[in-house]
Amino acid sequence: MAERPIVAARGEARDLRGEGGGFRRVAIGTTWFWLLLFALAPNLLVVAVSLLERGEREFVRVAFSVGSYVRLLDPLYAGVFWSSFRLAAIATIVCLLIAYPFALAVARAPLRWRPALLALVVIPFWTSSLVRTYAIVILIKTEGLLNAGLLALGLVDEPIEILYTELAVLIGFVYTELPFMVLPLYAAMEKLDWRLVEAARDLGAGAWAVLWRVLVPLTLPGIIAGSMLVFLPALGMFYVADVLGGAKELLIGNLIRDQFLSARDWPFGAAASVVVTLLMAALIGVYALSQRRLGSRGAA
């Protein structure tokens, strides 16, 4: 409200307390109401539930217990965490390897093509992930188009079984998450000062040196942002594991979902969710730190 006093002193603003003050109160009040009730309270409740005991008839029994966290250390569940993180990490790396040269090609395309190319990149981003997961099923199922093609080309003698394997889940993650990697990379490359690349070339840098010592450091914020946008959702997308992995692939998302919808062990599901959130918070912390370091290097 720094800009108000002059106006108020001249007395020109009508109803400053009533109307203007009223709007301010409504905006700030609504913001607090919604954020406290639907962002803060639910997360505190998850932490609270994770520290209670499983109830017989009610969802929880009000008795303090760290039993759920202890259970998570069981090799069975630790294994679920490990395989989920591994799969999400591989998906992130594959997405990065596919998307980086692609975003580079789009960012260097002739100016008149770029809006159309960008639109083509954005459309899958807006399309339902479930629909795109289903599209993968059609393509890779035993009697699907991929096998028909491979058989016709004589590359295989009998259909290969990809559906309901870990590979299918990986393909599903890469396909549904690829647009989320492309967009931040493209945004970083569009802003890039390409004269720096030319300068490096003029000074005799080879293709690898340009890539590793100029392009990658300059587009690092895009690489990190894209990796987070792929890695974090991949942990929770239980339907990709369900539809493409059959019931065989148990990932964190499926584990948490089952605790709430079928096994009815809310404290255990809440504890798993708290651990996922903490691990993500740690990742985001590393991201924020790296951004700050990049920022200070840029300023220096």
């Binding site: 106006v7 913001t31 639910p42 807006w126 599209a135 099923v137």
Partner: protein
Amino acid sequence: MIRTLARVYQGLVFLLLYLPIAVLVAFSFNDSRSSLTWRGFTTDWYVKLIEDGDLLVAAGNSAVVALLAATCATVIGTLTALALYRYRFRGKTMAEGLVFVLIMAPEIVMGISLLILFVALGMGLGFTTVLLAHVTFCLPFVTVTVLARLNGFDRHLVEAAQDLGASELQTVARVILPMAAPALAVGWLLSFTLSLDDVIITTFVAGPDYELLPLKLYSMVRRGVTPEINALSTVLFVLTLIVAGLAQRLLRHH
């Protein structure tokens, strides 16, 4: 040489992105239950969709929820953006942090946390809980979109309005909102598609009796591949194309 290679690669990735969807759309018009061989053109599967009463109920519910959720999220998300843009107030950093939490929180975590909240409040799961949950996950996208637009403005216009005697409400209604309008529209469109497509959060807060399109589609997909699912997916994809096209136009022309 490198340029040709780049174009070929670019084409390959676009093929990778669009081939599965193209196959899905093509086989929604195939006159055969098997999705491998082409037996001629038909629109039977679309007729089947319209004749499926349960599906229409789910689609109707989803349309109502998406329209209401997008509208509420746009109103509340814009109020939040205005509060963060215009005013200094106690705990502002925390409010910004909570918006960030809503964006970054994995959907599954948000789903179970809202379920626990609704049960703790003694609310029965159904329309109301779905609507509240959808408004909550759409809201930060509106706030961020509008805030980005507001930060791109010339602040002098706002100051000029106030120097000319406009009240706070007039300044917001006649100066700030008209300038931010395209961002509001894009936020609404994004919220509408997010609400229409959401599976994860909706799974937790819908309860057993409230049918919604993404949940219905999910249970169909789990049972296997059928041309009806292809038809339904095609309808959803075309809807997405229209909404994304509108959003792109709005962003480019303003």
